[in-house]
């Protein structure tokens, strides 16, 4: 298996709660992978383990042929894995463009002491940052405090500033959660574009089934911290175990993930 990003046998416990129990995932280069599962199945924890925000108890994270298990978040980011958060984590009291520059500054370290006080971060990366803001459609708000953006725009900003550093893999934690349908389409559109034109690899957690099924070529289903099934959308959609795990065996299966979706939206507010 030559996946660009893969995990093997990840286990992570918080006290008595086994959040991850042997979760395995593999994302091929240049594809959009999906990660789904009921609330509490360990999706975000797996993201945290991959990106270094949590240290796994056992198991390995591989990025290409490098083992990145237990790397600090900035090392993972520098290696080429960018991520967004379920509840967006932008810098609310910096302007939108300053948010972008924070992500850009990691790319070139100042060579001497004086450079720390120069304005190079402003001029140097500004053009690229503006292009990316334009790409996600919030360039008009460049000089506004990021905290005054709407929730959906924050998601776009977070996507844009992850893109600044030009990562090979982008992990999106519920990119469509709590966002209006127009904006959801736009986000999906941008992901498709990045994937098709720049060959970016994505892994996304999402409760919106339409979104996931439409975008992802491979979907991995987690339940209770372990991988239940992994495969193309058509297979996953009809898999009995998935329906049981994701919708709950005793739920009405015709409802098509309705309750989960609403729950997720409530959660993200």
């Amino acid at each position: 298996m030559s996946a660009l990003l893969r995990t093997e046998g990840i286990k992570k416990a918080y006290g008595g709660v086994q959040a991850l129990n042997g979760a395995a995932i593999a994302v091929e280069e240049g594809t959009v992978g999906g990660l789904i599962g009921p609330n509490g199945s360990g999706k975000t924890t797996l993201f945290n383990v991959i990106t270094g925000y949590e240290r796994p108890d056992t198991g390995e994270v591989w990025f290409g042929d490098r083992q990145i298990t237990g790397f600090a978040p900035d090392k993972v980011f520098a290696a080429g894995i960018g991520r967004t958060f379920q509840l967006t984590r932008i810098f609310p009291r910096l302007t939108v463009i300053e948010n972008m520059l924070i992500a850009a500054q990691a790319k070139d370290r100042p060579k001497n002491l004086l450079a720390w006080f120069s304005r190079d971060a402003w001029t140097h990366h500004r053009k690229h940052a503006m292009e990316l803001l334009e790409f996600v459609g919030i360039e008009r708000h460049a000089d506004v405090l990021a905290g005054s953006l709407s929730y959906g725009q924050r998601k776009l900003l977070e996507l844009a500033y992850v893109l600044v550093a030009d990562p090979a893999v982008i992990l999106l934690d519920e990119p469509a959660g709590g966002v209006n349908p127009t904006l959801i389409n736009m986000i999906a559109d941008r992901i498709r574009l990045l994937n098709a034109e720049q060959g970016k690899t994505f892994l996304l957690v999402e409760h919106n089934m339409e979104f996931v099924m439409g975008l992802c070529s491979t979907i991995t289903v987690l339940e209770s911290g372990a991988t239940v099934v992994s495969g193309p959308p058509e297979i996953v959609r009809t898999d009995k175990r998935v329906l049981d795990a994701y919708l709950g065996a005793d739920l009405d299966e015709d409802e098509d993930a309705g309750p989960e979706e609403r729950k997720a939206e409530e959660e993200s507010r």
Partner: protein, 348 residues
């Protein structure tokens, strides 16, 4: 934008001219005394802003640097038998000692955040006060006296006024350079979300420590000026627990997170404090006054004069129409998705 810059530049020139002329117009040492001490506190407040205002880490341990700077000058002048104006050559030494102390201080205190950080800075402050009381080289509770300066009262205050003014201007320039640089941006990113900033490659520990060292060095420098001006330092005046509370009050009154706010707060509070000290009827009320001002600020102007004032000015200029939120204001991040400047953007 251009006219705004012009007004700003013009304002700075006017303030500078007034500051330079003040001791020439009011030559009375009682008046210039207000000026010297106000500028000393203004320097300390802006130095506090460089670290705490940018990073959001509220340090209540700045008196460690202030006192250490004062003691450094006192001990060095005593042991090296330095006299008169030669003592001023010790100012860089005081700053260096401040920077040196800031390194272990920062390495310990900056491991923790928020309230814990504040408590740790206070604890370290008291350790320093106790050391000043008990070490052999600090002369215990007697404190230290500075060498004698044979200046007449009027030029004495005037000279110290210009020294303090130079320190203030220098510190404001440093704070401004920090604010506009990538270094300052990193500090403010740490203030907003330290973990996220680290995840984006900001070397948070180093950046915070660097700001803390800069702030500590400046505070120690101005502590030495203060010591030579007053000719003496005791453990309870050099390492004064009220020093940090006063600084924080000054900054909160003027405007937390802005250079001009920190400056303005110090220039208001310190003269007020000194004036109450001189009123026999109000004797002993100055600490109560500080507390009162603090309450009023928290109740009516929690963001301070400068942010509230500039918002009011913007409102006047735009005649009540909501303006785009200026990037310089520091306030609670509004998360309301119905903000007027934003609602149209979602529907593209």
């Amino acid at each position: 934008m251009k006219t705004q810059n012009l007004t700003k530049g013009g304002g700075i020139v006017v303030v500078l001219v007034v500051a330079v002329l003040f001791p020439q117009v009011f030559t009375n040492p009682a008046a210039t005394n207000y000026g010297v001490l106000a500028l000393i506190f203004a320097t300390a407040a802006v130095a506090w802003h460089i670290f705490s205002g940018n990073t959001g880490y509220i340090s209540l341990g700045q008196a460690v640097f202030f006192g250490s700077g004062a003691y450094t000058m006192g001990i060095a002048a005593r042991d090296w038998h330095m006299q008169a104006t030669a003592v001023f050559e010790l100012l860089p030494l005081s700053a260096a000692v401040g920077a040196l102390i800031a390194v272990p201080f920062g390495l310990i205190a900056l491991r923790v955040r928020r309230h814990t950080f504040i408590v740790v800075t206070i604890a370290i402050f008291f350790i320093f006060q106790l050391m000043a009381f008990n070490f052999w080289f600090t002369s215990g509770s007697n404190g230290l006296n500075s060498p004698f300066l044979s200046w007449a009262p009027v030029p004495y205050n005037q000279n110290f006024y210009y020294i303090a003014l130079a320190c203030t201007v220098g510190t404001v320039v440093v704070a401004w350079l920090v604010g506009r640089s990538r270094f300052g941006l990193q500090l403010r990113a740490i203030r907003d979300d330290e973990d996220r900033a680290r995840g984006l490659g900001v070397k948070a520990a180093q950046v915070k420590l660097a700001a803390f060292v800069i702030s500590g060095a400046i505070t120690a420098l101005i502590g030495a000026v203060w010591f030579y001006y007053l000719n003496q330092v005791q453990p309870q005046t050099g390492f004064n627990p009220l020093f940090d509370l006063t600084l924080v009050l000054m900054v909160f009154l003027g405007g937390y997170g802005s250079i001009s706010g920190s400056l303005l707060g110090a220039l208001i509070i310190e003269p007020l404090y000194l004036w109450i000290n001189t009123q026999p009827k109000l004797n002993g009320y100055n600490e109560i006054m500080l507390g009162g001002v603090f309450l009023l600020v928290v109740l009516f102007m929690p963001r301070g004069i400068v942010p509230t004032g500039s918002e009011y000015l913007t409102k006047l200029r735009t005649r009540g129409r909501p303006a785009v939120s200026p990037s310089t204001t520091i306030g609670p991040a509004s998360s309301s998705p119905s903000a007027p400047s934003v609602s149209s953007g979602g529907a593209r």
